[in-house]
């Protein structure tokens, strides 16, 4: 290790040898006499404090650095991240916000549509329920399970001789049905689709198994203008009955109450299908 060789040698060794401390070890002793180590220089610079020109200049610059550092840290901390952001960043953030707003608006719109749909559908469900109730009432009238009232006629047959037979009454019923009768009651028996008539022994007629005696009083709900002519047509019900010496009276009325009921028979096996 000669003196003229040393600098080259030192450079060569120092550059690659960053981690191992050993190759560096010889260097400080070699220069220890006239040169200070970095540590010593740092200690000397720190203490004792000397007011020299370089110190003052460096202090001034470091003051500026500290100021900038503090301001920057502060502006990053307080208010928002937007403070100090550059223009293009701001534009990008604004664009993102716009996009987000748009997406949220779309979501809101679709949700509102959904809500409207649900409201409508619940309206529809309510409407369907109403219609079902209405239909139930209509069907109840047809089935004879509920009382009915409305315009119609009364047909009174007074048969002193007992000549009236079941088939004559059946004719009358068919005629009335053909004329659009919606609810029929004979005395206190409701006439429905499944009503059957038979002659009862000793005069009178059995309607649905119940004996119905003279006078027969039909209460019929329907359009009176249709029902009355249907009965009175030549060769029709009235004439046929009168041939049997019965007294037949047909009276139109604006309010006929059919209040004889049939029990609703619940079927044992059949159930309404889900449709």
């Amino acid at each position: 290790m000669s003196a003229d060789e040393r600098p080259e040698h030192r450079h060569r060794r120092e550059l690659p040898a960053e981690v191992p401390a050993k190759p560096e070890a010889p260097a400080p002793p070699a220069s220890g006499g006239q040169r200070l180590t970095g540590r010593q220089r740092l200690a000397k610079g720190l203490w004792p404090p000397r007011v020299t020109r370089p110190q003052l200049i460096v202090a001034l610059l470091l003051f500026v650095l500290g100021l900038g550092l503090a301001i920057q840290v502060r502006s990053n901390n307080d208010s928002s991240a937007l403070r100090g952001a550059r223009q293009e960043d701001l534009v990008r953030i604004l664009d993102e916000l716009d996009d987000r707003t748009q997406r949220l608006e779309e979501e809101k719109r679709s949700l509102e549509e959904q809500r409207t749909g649900l409201e409508n559908s619940s309206d529809q469900a309510e409407e369907a329920r109403k219609q079902t109730v209405e239909r139930e009432r209509q069907l109840g009238i047809l089935a004879g399970t509920v009382a009915a009232q409305g315009p119609g006629i009364t047909l009174a047959i007074v048969d002193k001789k007992g000549a009236i037979e079941a088939d004559m009454l059946l004719d009358a019923i068919q005629e009335l049905r053909a004329a659009g009768a919606e609810a029929i009651q004979i005395n206190d028996v409701r006439v429905v689709a499944g009503t059957h008539l038979s002659d009862a022994g000793g005069g009178g007629v059995r309607v649905d198994g119940r004996k119905v005696g003279e006078p027969y009083l039909f209460k019929v709900i329907g359009k009176p203008q249709d029902l009355e002519p249907a009965l009175n047509i030549p060769g029709g019900v009235v004439q046929t009955l009168e041939k049997e010496q019965a007294t037949v009276t047909v009276t139109r009325s604006e309010k006929i109450v059919v209040n004889a009921l049939r029990p609703a028979k619940r079927p044992d096996y059949a159930r309404s299908s889900s449709q």
Binding site: R39, G45, I57, A59, L61, L62, V64, L67, I71
Partner: protein, 110 residues
Amino acid sequence: MIAVLGLVVGVVAGLLVRPEVPAVVEPYLPIAVVAALDAVFGGLRAMLDGIFDDKVFVVSFLSNVVVAALIVFLGDKLGVGAQLSTGVVVVLGIRIFSNAAAIRRHIFRA
């Protein structure tokens, strides 16, 4: 010692006084701070190497700040401000790390 005091006073003043930075300078402040940090580390290393010179330090400090701000300004004008400022920060960070490594070697001998 005075220099360290200067840094401390600067930080305290910045935190307490809370000066308003002009809006024109504001975007370049972070980059300028990083550039100044680089200059300070370089100065510290030079001091430890025994080759510190106050004139060189002042010039390098100011030129670092100005050049960094200039690069970002130019990048903003060219529309690549974000990328360019990232690049400046990366380069300065690398320099700071290498200076810090040299300082570490001086102080800890490792």
